[in-house]
């Protein structure tokens, strides 16, 4: 692979990223590149900065140092760049964050209309397509509060897909769910991965990581400690902290 | 245009005296009757509750200015030779009793049910249960809203000006007409109201915040 191939297929790059919350150093010298179609699983103990990292990618947090590039566009703090990047990046939150006053269909049609400038009819057709994709089209006219957690999270995935993003970010999408609902959301994510979506998933679902991840990244205290293919990561982790963490996680599951 | 000298200023301060007096009388008189209204509003008798509710609804559903007019002319009809001052004071007392009654009704009902049950279990009779157990707690709960209403009442006394009673606002109007400096005069009058009301409002909100925190 030549250098130019490399930059062309590179979708996200973080170079020397530093993030502070006041006096608290939340991200320390983060370097990470994600190529088109790659699936990254991000794990690590609570407070290690996983959410912060992916939130920086779609500018829900601003960074104090380093450089983030998404789809060839440098995040330079201009609102143009912010718009362009958010347009390319879909995000799914731990707590779904569906808009409570809108139906499922309205939730999904909002961004296509407001951000992509579609007509209502076009937007709703698109919304139905992605609701179908996450197999929840039959609930289109319900309000979020009328759905189960797993259903809500699948709607949230459909809503993000309606942006037709190049990259999907997931921040612990299954950890607020009752155990019996985890599978339906993971299945949806797996099928997305099969279709070639570029994904960064913060999750502790190690089965999912083994199945779809190209790389697993382990973070602790704001740093990337270890980065490896799943086989290597789970069978022969290099660092002590990774081993401890894996021990704890696997004991739980 | 005339100057605003010491005389004009003194006249305005005279008005302030009546504003303060009206507010104090309305608040105290309204407080006394308000407790009655509140207690009636939560009494066992459905008829009594309905009457209290109608009384509150009447005063909360009509303009204070109309209440002033009706009481003012209504009192005159009764025939006794009452001064304008007494008529206005009666009107504010009635007005305040309805609003305070409603505020305190809410507070009485906000006292946890267990308190009534505990008082009952101790064998306290109705008066003692209310006076010693429920009302003191309700009073505390109601403090922010009560102070909020006091501010409303102080501002409300300005409407006595429209009935012709010379308090702070009317004094301002008179001086404004004499000196042709309405912005300056109403600026001064507004500032005086602000100096009285703002600290009260501030105290009320601070209390509310503190109580919200304590509840958590």
């Amino acid at each position: 692979m030549t250098a130019s191939d490399n930059t062309q297929s590179m979708l996200i790059s973080l170079e020397k990223v530093e993030k502070w919350y006041g006096a608290f150093h939340a991200l320390k010298d983060i370097n990470l590149t994600v190529r088109k179609g790659e699936k990254i699983v991000l794990c690590g103990p609570s407070g290690s900065g996983k959410s912060t990292l992916i939130r920086c990618i779609n500018v829900l947090e601003t960074i104090e140092g380093g450089r983030i590039t998404v789809g060839g566009r440098v995040l330079d703090g201009s609102s143009k760049a912010v718009d362009a990047i958010r347009r390319e990046v879909g995000m799914v939150f731990q707590s779904f964050n569906l808009f409570t006053h809108m139906t499922v269909l309205q939730n999904c049609a909002l961004a296509p209309m407001r951000v992509r400038g579609m007509s209502r009819a076009e937007a709703e057709t698109l919304a139905r397509k992605y609701l179908e994709r996450v197999r929840i089209l039959d609930q289109a006219d319900k309000y979020p509060a009328q759905l189960s957690g797993g259903q809500q999270q699948r709607v949230a995935i459909a809503r993000a897909l309606c942006l037709e993003p190049k990259i999907m970010l997931f921040d612990e999408p299954t950890s607020a769910l009752d155990p019996e609902m985890v599978k339906e959301v993971l299945d949806t994510m797996i099928s997305l991965a099969r279709d070639g979506m570029t994904m960064i998933c913060v999750t502790h679902e190690m089965g999912f990581a083994r199945q779809v991840a190209d790389r697993v990244i382990f973070m602790a205290s704001g740093e990337i400690i270890e980065e490896a293919e799943p086989d290597v990561f789970f069978t022969s982790p290099k660092h002590e902290r990774t081993k401890t963490f894996l021990g704890e996680i696997l004991a739980h599951h | 245009m005339g100057p605003i000298g010491a005389n004009e200023f003194l006249f305005i301060l005279q008005g302030l005296k009546w504003t303060a007096l009206l507010a104090i009388i309305g608040f105290i008189g309204g407080g006394v009757f308000g407790i009655l209204i509140a207690v009636t509003r939560v009494s066992k008798s459905a008829a009594a509750r309905a009457i209290a509710a109608a009384y509150i609804g009447l005063f909360q559903g009509t303009p204070l200015l109309m209440q002033l007019f009706v009481v003012y002319y209504g009192v005159a009809l009764v025939g006794i030779n009452v001064s304008a001052w007494l008529a206005v004071a009666i009107a504010f007392t009635l007005h305040a009793s309805a609003f305070l009654g409603e505020i305190w009704r809410g507070s009485i009902q906000a006292v946890p049910k267990g308190q009534t049950e505990a008082a009952n279990a101790l064998g306290l009779h109705y008066v003692s249960r209310m006076k010693d157990v429920i009302l003191p707690q309700a009073l505390k709960i109601s403090m922010p809203a009560t102070i909020g209403f006091l501010v409303q009442l102080i501002k409300g006394t300005s409407l006595a000006a429209i009935v012709g009673f010379i308090e702070l606002a009317r004094a301002g109007q008179i001086i404004s007409n004499q000196t042709y400096r309405p912005l300056l005069v109403f600026g001064i009058v507004g500032t005086i109201y602000f100096i009285i009301c703002w600290p009260l409002s501030h105290f009320g909100t601070a209390l509310e915040k503190r109580m919200a925190k304590a509840a958590r």
Binding site: N58, V59, L60, D83, R86, R87, V89, G90, M91, F93, N97, F99, T100, H101, L110, A111, R114, V115, Y143, A145, Q146, A156, A160, L163 | L58, G61, T62, P63, L64, L65, M66, Q67, F69, V70, Y73, G74, A76, L77, G79, V151, K155, S158, L159, A161, I162, A169, G172, Q173, S176, P182, L183, F186, G187, V189, G190, Y193, F194, C197, W198, S201
Partner: protein, 222 residues
Amino acid sequence: MNYQFDFGAVFERAPELLWATLGTFGLAFAGMALALVIGVVGVIGRTSPNKIVRAPVIAFVEIVRNTPFLVQIFYIYFALPLMGIRLNPTATAIIALGINGGAYAIEIIRGGVESIGKGQVEAGYALGLHKADVFRLIVLKPALRAIYPSLTSQFIMLTLTTSVCTSIAAYELTSAAQRIESDTFRSFEVYFLVTGIYLVISTVMMGIFALISRRYFSYPTR
């Protein structure tokens, strides 16, 4: 008490009272509309991270809420012409009502906005919406639902406050009452009757507000 009540003289003026009632409704609704606009715009300033934007809004709210409406309306009545704005008393009254109601609306709406979870706002940003759209499409409606009870009771208060607009001779019910009083000398009868009209107005408004609430805010939340 040997006073002879005579409502007849007042009833003769019924058409005038009816028109004035419409005037009161007009003042009230125009005032509310303006208050709502001031409230929505003001709350954006009130919640701004920039202190220079926030401070004047706070000052505005505190001044309006801690001075009587009567003084405010006089001040505005005299101030507008000096600013080169010549309006009739009724238009002036609408502005005064809007400003007064707006200050309360800012604080009420702020409470509502603060009750909306951070996650809702972030989800909006993550979908690429801009700040104004996030506010208008995502925050506003749930916030309105949260503040609806206090906002509507504030509106009823504003409606009752329109009676003070008689002090600048705006076209509304109380000035009609005062006019009829000075013609007929039936003070008690006029004010008694007009008080009744106000009671009907506020009761009707409460009914309308309840109806709106059922239509507009009926989406389920857990």
